[in-house]
Subunit: 106 residues, 2 copies
């Protein structure tokens, strides 16, 4: 069955990119064992200064939405919000057909 | 150590999206066991019809570049090229800081 992917950007206020990334890496640890979580990557790219990218793969959109209820996640969101330069943009939603790196491959 | 990510789009000629995706899924199987490959996902998204997205995570750019030498990969590229609506665009290069879903996490 296809999986749900999300590739999105959070932009930090000047000087806070690393702090924001550190919070998101903590969130990755929390959701890594959540039901239906396959991938939760935290990245920067050279082209978008101040931005932190989050790339997620879940069994379904519902599994993703439930991740917001994982213990500790809301607290981390609360820490991240004051570091953001603006409201989070809606990320790119992907229908994951398959590939390598999922918990149960192909 | 940070890893190398690439998130890119291939656009198929009309009616060939599924055929292109199938070729990329075969490529995913070939590179899944290549040195330094963590993630190779093949996706579609509702917003970009005719497009197939490939999201990769490798130990380094060099590991990614070497994947083109994996047996069978060039043949698959040869099958994919006639299905493309234009030359592949350069994907978004990511510096992966960490997260869940990598072979050796965090």
């Amino acid at each position: 069955m296809n999986k749900y992917g999300l590739h999105g950007k959070l932009t930090a206020t000047a000087g806070n990119t690393d702090k924001l990334a550190a919070i998101l890496l903590q969130a990755a640890k929390l959701v890594a064992t959540a039901d239906g979580c396959h991938v939760y990557l935290v990245s920067k790219d050279a082209a978008t200064e101040d931005a932190v990218w989050v790339t997620e793969v879940w069994d379904s959109k519902e599994a993703h939405d439930n991740s917001l209820k994982v213990a500790g996640v809301r607290e981390l969101i609360g820490q991240a919000i004051p570091l953001l330069a603006g409201p989070p943009q809606k990320g790119q939603e992907l229908e994951i057909l398959g590939g390598a790196g999922l918990n149960s491959s192909y």
